[in-house]
Symmetry: C2
Subunit: 361 residues, 2 copies
Amino acid sequence: MTKIIDPYGSELVSDYGKIVKDFGLEIFNKNIFPNPNAIMRRGVVFAGRDMQIIAKCIKEKKPFYALTGIMPTNQEIHLGTKLVVENLKFFQQLGAKTYILVADLEAQAARGVSLEEGRKRALNFHIPAYIALGLDPKKTIFYFQSENKEVMHFAYEAAKKITLNEFKAIYGSADPGRIMSAVTQVGDILYPQFKERMPGIIPVGIDQDPHIRLTRDVVSRMKSKKFFSPGSIYHKYTPSLDGSIKMSKSKPESCITIPEDEKSVKKKIMRALSGGRTTLEEHRRLGAEVEKCMVFELLKQHLVEDDKELDKIYEEYKSGRMSAGEIKQLASEKMMVFMKDFNKKLEKAKKQVDKLNFVEF
Amino acid sequence: MTKIIDPYGSELVSDYGKIVKDFGLEIFNKNIFPNPNAIMRRGVVFAGRDMQIIAKCIKEKKPFYALTGIMPTNQEIHLGTKLVVENLKFFQQLGAKTYILVADLEAQAARGVSLEEGRKRALNFHIPAYIALGLDPKKTIFYFQSENKEVMHFAYEAAKKITLNEFKAIYGSADPGRIMSAVTQVGDILYPQFKERMPGIIPVGIDQDPHIRLTRDVVSRMKSKKFFSPGSIYHKYTPSLDGSIKMSKSKPESCITIPEDEKSVKKKIMRALSGGRTTLEEHRRLGAEVEKCMVFELLKQHLVEDDKELDKIYEEYKSGRMSAGEIKQLASEKMMVFMKDFNKKLEKAKKQVDKLNFVEF
C-alpha cells in the first residue's frame, strides 16, 4: 500500500493511500514548494496533480493561478473549508493569480437559493469570511457564476467533448443536473486561462477530484486550444468529532462551523472522541492514543500554527502527562481565540466588500 | 390505426398515424383556427398539443406567443424549414407575440461555428431569409441564445427537474452535450413566459417533439412557477425527391435548399420521383400515381397557394391528361418564380436588419 506521510499518524491513513492509488494521484512531497504551510508540513495535504509544474512557475516567477469556488448557501462555513483557504492563501502568497468564483447558479439549482439571495449571502458573509481567514482581497479576483457568460458558453463546448459513460465512470452517476453543474465547473476551473494560457492549481478536498479529472479529460480533447491541464492539491477531511472520516453538517453535534458560538463549540469539543484511556491512572501509565484523538486532530489541522508547540502537546499527551480533559480544555480555549479573531476580522472584511475586484461582464 | 386527414393522400400517412398514437398527440382539425393556411388545409399540418388553448386565446384576443429557433450554420436553409415559417407567420398574423431565437450556442457546440460567425450568419442570411419568407420583422422579437443569461440560468434549474432515465426515454440517448442543448431549449421555449405567463405554440417538424415533451415535463414539475405548458403544431416532412420520407442534405441530389440556383433546382426536379407511368400511353390510360409523386408534393407543400389551382393540377395529373414531364416543367417554373421572389425579398430584408427588435440583455 502507498504510504502517506503523516508525522502524527492517523487511522485514516490507509484510506487515503487507496485513494492515491485508485485515482492515480501524485503523493505530496512537503519540500516541493517553498515555506510549506502547517497542513502541508503535517501530512494533512497528502496528494496532488501536476504540482511539479506549479513548483517550476514559482521558482521561475512565471504566471500561474489558484482558484476556488464559494457556494453561498448557509450563513456559515464548514471548518473543513478552512483547509481550502489555507492552501489558496499559500499559493496567493507565492504569487498565484487568485480567483474566487461564487457558485450562485449551483446554489440555486442544488439548494433553491435564488440568485439574488446567493449574491447577498456571498457579499455579506462568504467572501468576507474568506478574507477573515487570510485571503488578500486586493490580490483576489472575484466573479459570480451566473454573470459569467464565457464560462456558460464554454460549458456547452465541454459537454460535447465527453460521453455519458465517461461521465458515469468519473462521477458514479450522471443526472442531468449533475452534468450541468460539472461542465460549468470545468468552465470555472479553466476560466483564468481564457485570456492567458497558464498553469493553475486548484486546492480541494479529495471529494472534489472528479471535477479535476473531468477538466483534465476535456483539456486533453481540446488540444488545439492549448489549455494547461489544471493541477490540484488535496487535503484530508477534517474528521467528525465522533471519529468518523468527515465532519458533516448531517451530524451537527460532531461538526464545528465558522462562526460558532463559544458555548456550543465548547460543548462539542468536550464530548469529542479523544485519545484518553478508560481511567486517569491508565492514561498516565499508557499515554494517550493520539492517532484516535479528534481533539488533537483539531489542534493539528486548525488551531496550532507552530510546529514546536504542536510537538510539545503531542509529547505531553502521548506520554500521558496531559489528560484528555486537559487537551479538550486547551483546544476549547484555542478555538475560542480563533472564533473571536475570526469574528473581528469578518466585521472588518465586510466593510471592504465594495472595494473588491469583481470581473465586469 | 389513427386516420390522418390528407385530402391528396400520401403513402406516408400510416407512419404519421403511428407517431400520433405513440406520442399521444392531438390530431389536427383544420377548422380549429380561423383562416387555415395552405399546409393546414392540405393535411401537411397533421397534429399538435394544446391547440384548443391557443384557439381560445385567438378567439378571446388573449395574449399568447409563437416561437422558433434559427441554427445559424450554412448560408442556406432547408426547403422543409419553410413549413415552420409558414406556421409561425400564421400565428403571428393571428396576434401571437412572435419570438425568434438564434441558437448560436448550439451551432457552436454542435457544428463548431464560432459565436461571432454564427451571429454574422444569422444577421446576414438566416433572419433576412425568415423575413423574406413572410415573417413581419416589426412584430418579431429576436435574441441570441449566447446572450440570454436568463435562459441559461433556467436551463440549470430545468436540468435538476429531470432524471437521466426520463431523458433517455424522451431522446433515446443522453450524451452530456445533448442534455445541455435540450435543457437550454427548454429555457428558450419558456422564455416568452419569464416576464408574463401566457400560453404559447411552437411550430415544429415532428422530429422536434422531444423538446416539447421535455419542456412539458419540466413545467409539470415546477407547478409553483405556474408556467403554461407549451402547445405545439406539427407538420409532415417535406419528402426527399427520391421518395424517401425526409428531404435531407445528406442526399444533395434529392434536396432543395433556399436559395438554390435555377439550373441545379431544375435538374433535381427533372430527376425527381414522379407519379408517371412507364409509358405515356399507359399514363394517359391509367392516370398518374399522384400519391407517389414527389413533384406534386412540392406543389402541394410549397408552390401553390390557391386550392382551386392545386385541385385542377391534381385532376389533370390524376386523369393522365397532364404528363409527368409536364408537372415537372410546371413545378420547375414555379420554383424559379419562388426563388427569384425569395432572392429579391432577401436583399430587401438584409437592409432592415439594423432595425430589428433584439432583446437587450
